[in-house]
């Protein structure tokens, strides 16, 4: 049934939602800083999946985002790279000071 059905926007949205949830769970449960950053990437890419699906003229002939969708996705990819670079630099700085990248060890400041 799945193989013969027509692919519609909602299929892509489902993949995007799964990516988002995986990313959110990853952010919440991973104790390793790099794992948390991977979760962030998953969340961003889940959103990207939505943008691209919404932007497709094939999937959505009416009311599609058009090129906007693809362009937003491109911008987000670039931004995710920049954010990851900064976050990794901060992680290195944290490692230099604490000899660990375990986020639970960041407990000196208790809000």
């Amino acid at each position: 049934m799945l193989l013969i059905g027509t692919v519609s926007v909602s299929w892509y949205l489902a993949v995007g939602a799964v990516l988002f949830v995986l990313g959110a769970v990853c952010m919440a449960t991973k104790r390793n800083l790099l794992g948390v950053l991977m979760g962030v990437e998953l969340v961003l890419n889940g959103a990207n999946m939505n943008f691209i699906a919404f932007g497709s003229k094939v999937l959505r002939p009416e009311g599609s985002l058009g090129l906007d969708g693809q362009l937003i996705a491109l911008f987000v990819i670039v931004l995710a790279a920049a954010e990851a670079a900064v976050a990794l630099a901060i992680a290195l700085n944290f490692y230099n000071n604490h000899n660990t990248v375990d986020v639970d060890r960041a407990n000196e400041l208790n809000g």
Partner: protein, 625 residues
């Protein structure tokens, strides 16, 4: 042949648009140029002190954002860069506030000496980059820019939080800020993707139009998705505003980062986030008038009516005009007959507009009539759209009201247990974010029904921001100078400070009382403006939420008095404790001059309050249509 000319026309239009936009974009361009300069200098040498260059950059930015144009009348709202950004009074006002803050802030960092010569170039480029993002936040008109601007403002701030090398707490603060920030941004982006997908556009005014059409017919599923998207976007903005329950980062980051960075985060970041919230709330909650077109269907119908009524006249109009210019008066009479019975004379007027000969006096009166009629039509359409958007406004208004009450109350209550002055001020910042958000609730409730009320609420927010810039910059600069002097940021180490540094303590007391909102200090005026807009909103709409907000605001003001007083009491009544003084830099003349200059507006803003209120009124004039 046809596609190529289209292409050239497109390029020409884009060129004209970019040239026009760049003129309005000068403050941001200035920041970009100086960022590039700092980075280039950093490649060559680390010895140069770039403070004067940075200060020059900030001053050029302030001049080119031209706050004085608000004094000479309201700024027209106009879109830049094909609708990605918008330039109106709000942009000018908040951008000018940000640039003014940047100037004051750079002087402050120079005096307190936190970015040393070696770090100067890096720190200045980060600060300028973050400010660039904040400027974009104030002028965002497209959800892509909303997201990009939030990230542009956020990412450099993560680094700034860990500015001082080799400090465990600094690195921890940067880490927490970066993780929470990235998470909140991810959630916000997902919310944006849902909203954009439903509306089929990311351009805010178009989106409002689309929503106005979608919402009345929306099923339960669509409503749920819209609410989810709105809440997710709210998460991102609440993080920037450090609104409860997304405030966890604020006390930790403020504790771990140095006081200079705190000043930057608590003032510039908040001001920009509030401007963005204002823009998003108003942008989604109402359709701007100049975005409303007479719909195509209506026009077509209209044209068919016209051509049925007077087919020969229209034909003859075109023919005669093309043939002979001397036939103008006759043509005018003919066209005057045609639309006379019809109020929606837009198409006919448009036709004659395009003709080169449309200059006669009679023509103009017809033109005026036609325009007035078209305006009336557009107003009616706008009102219909605004009517359809009232669930959106209610939802946003209640959401923000909820955030505001919780934030203000929690911030003030949590401030009591603090022993560290920076932590205390972090909670105070949170509480003030709550007060400022309060003004958006009456704005949303009265938007679309009571124009003056909505403007008053938006203006109150701008007034509060103006006051708040000086208050928090003053508070954090005093903390930074005291840190240099005492070598501590614990409140108990400041005990008896009044004996050695009386004027500093007096300035801090004035600033704190102003933060509480005691008259006649400036904080009182800001709070009064917001509470007045709440009260007016309540008497206009009778909305219970506004009454609750007003009560919560009043109670919170009373609560907040005591923890500010506690700090002042320790400084004045406590026993001096000189052996705790481990700092190496005395509070010199430079420091005192700076603190006094920053405190002056706190005390004397009441004298020129008219000016501040006028500035804020002009700022929001063309923003709400």
């Amino acid at each position: 042949m046809e596609p190529t000319t289209d292409f050239y026309q497109l390029i020409d239009a884009l060129k004209a648009d970019s040239a026009n936009s760049l003129g309005l974009f000068m403050p941001e361009v200035t920041l970009c140029v100086f960022i590039a300069l700092f980075l280039a200098v950093r490649l060559i040498t680390t010895k140069l002190d770039l403070f004067w260059v940075a200060l020059a950059g900030a001053v050029v930015g302030l001049i080119s954002s031209n706050p004085l144009q608000l004094c000479s009348g309201a700024v027209e709202s106009e879109e830049m860069f094909t609708g990605l950004l918008v330039h109106d009074g709000l942009t000018v006002a908040v951008r000018s506030i940000l640039m003014l803050f940047l100037v004051l802030f750079l002087i402050f960092t120079k005096i307190s000496g936190v970015p040393d010569k070696e770090d100067g170039a890096d720190v200045y480029s980060l600060i300028f980059g973050s400010t660039l993002g904040m400027c974009l936040m104030t002028s965002a008109n497209h959800l892509l820019i909303v997201f990009l601007a939030i990230e542009m403002a956020g990412v450099p701030s993560y680094v700034l939080a860990g500015l001082i090398k080799g400090r465990k707490r600094g690195s921890e603060a940067a880490l927490k800020y970066a993780i929470y920030g990235a998470g909140a941004a991810g959630v916000m982006l997902y919310g944006i993707s849902l909203l954009v997908g439903l509306a089929g556009t990311a351009h805010l005014p178009t989106m409002a139009l689309q929503l106005a059409e979608i919402i009345p017919a929306a099923g339960l599923g669509e409503q749920a998705v819209l609410c989810l998207a709105a809440v997710m976007i709210a998460v991102g903005i609440a993080f920037k505003l450090s609104a409860v329950p997304f405030h966890f980062w604020a006390p930790d980051v403020f504790h771990g980062a140095c006081a200079e960075v705190n000043a930057f985060l608590s003032v510039a970041s908040k001001a920009a986030a509030l401007a963005l919230l204002l823009r998003l709330a108003v942008g989604l909650g109402s359709v701007p008038l100049n975005e409303v077109e007479i719909p195509q269907i209506l026009e077509v119908q209209h044209e068919s009516i016209m051509s049925e009524a007077a087919p020969t006249q229209l034909v003859s109009l075109e023919d005669q005009v093309a043939d002979d210019k001397s036939a103008e008066p006759a043509v005018v009479e003919e066209t005057a007959d045609a639309p006379a019975n019809d109020t929606e004379a837009e198409p006919a007027a448009d036709d004659s507009d395009e003709e080169p000969v449309a200059e006669g006096a009679a023509e103009e009166t017809i033109d005026d009539e036609a325009q007035a009629a078209a305006l009336a039509t557009r107003l009616a359409i706008k009102q219909a759209h605004d009517e359809a958007l009232s669930p959106v406004r209610n939802f946003i208004g209640l959401l923000i009201a909820f955030f505001a009450v919780v934030t203000a109350t929690f911030g003030n209550l949590a401030a009591y247990g603090q022993t560290n002055i920076k932590r205390l001020l972090a909670y105070s910042t949170i509480a003030h974010a709550g007060y400022m958000m309060m003004s958006i609730a009456p704005l949303m409730m009265t938007l679309g029904t009571d124009h003056a009320g909505a403007e008053q609420a938006a203006s109150a927010l701008i007034q509060y921001i103006v006051v708040y810039v000086f208050l928090n910059l003053g508070a954090f600069s005093i903390i930074a100078f005291l840190r240099n002097y005492v070598g501590s940021e614990e409140i108990e180490d400041y005990s008896g400070m009044v004996k050695s540094r009386p004027s500093l303590v007096i300035c801090l007391a004035l600033i704190f009382f102003s933060l509480v909102g005691l008259p006649p200090l400036s904080g009182f005026l800001g709070k009064f403006a917001i509470f007045a807009s709440l009260a007016d909103g309540y008497s206009d709409t009778g909305s219970m939420a506004l009454l609750i907000l007003l009560l919560a605001g009043g109670i919170n003001t009373a609560i907040s008095l005591f923890y500010y007083l506690g700090v002042i009491k320790t400084m004045i009544m406590g026993e001096p404790n000189e052996e705790h003084h481990l700092g190496d830099r005395p509070v010199g003349d430079m420091e005192m001059t700076y603190v006094i200059l920053i405190t002056i507006p706190t005390v004397f803003l009441i004298v020129c309050w008219q000016w501040v209120a006028g500035f804020a009124d002009e700022a929001v004039k063309n923003f709400i249509s």
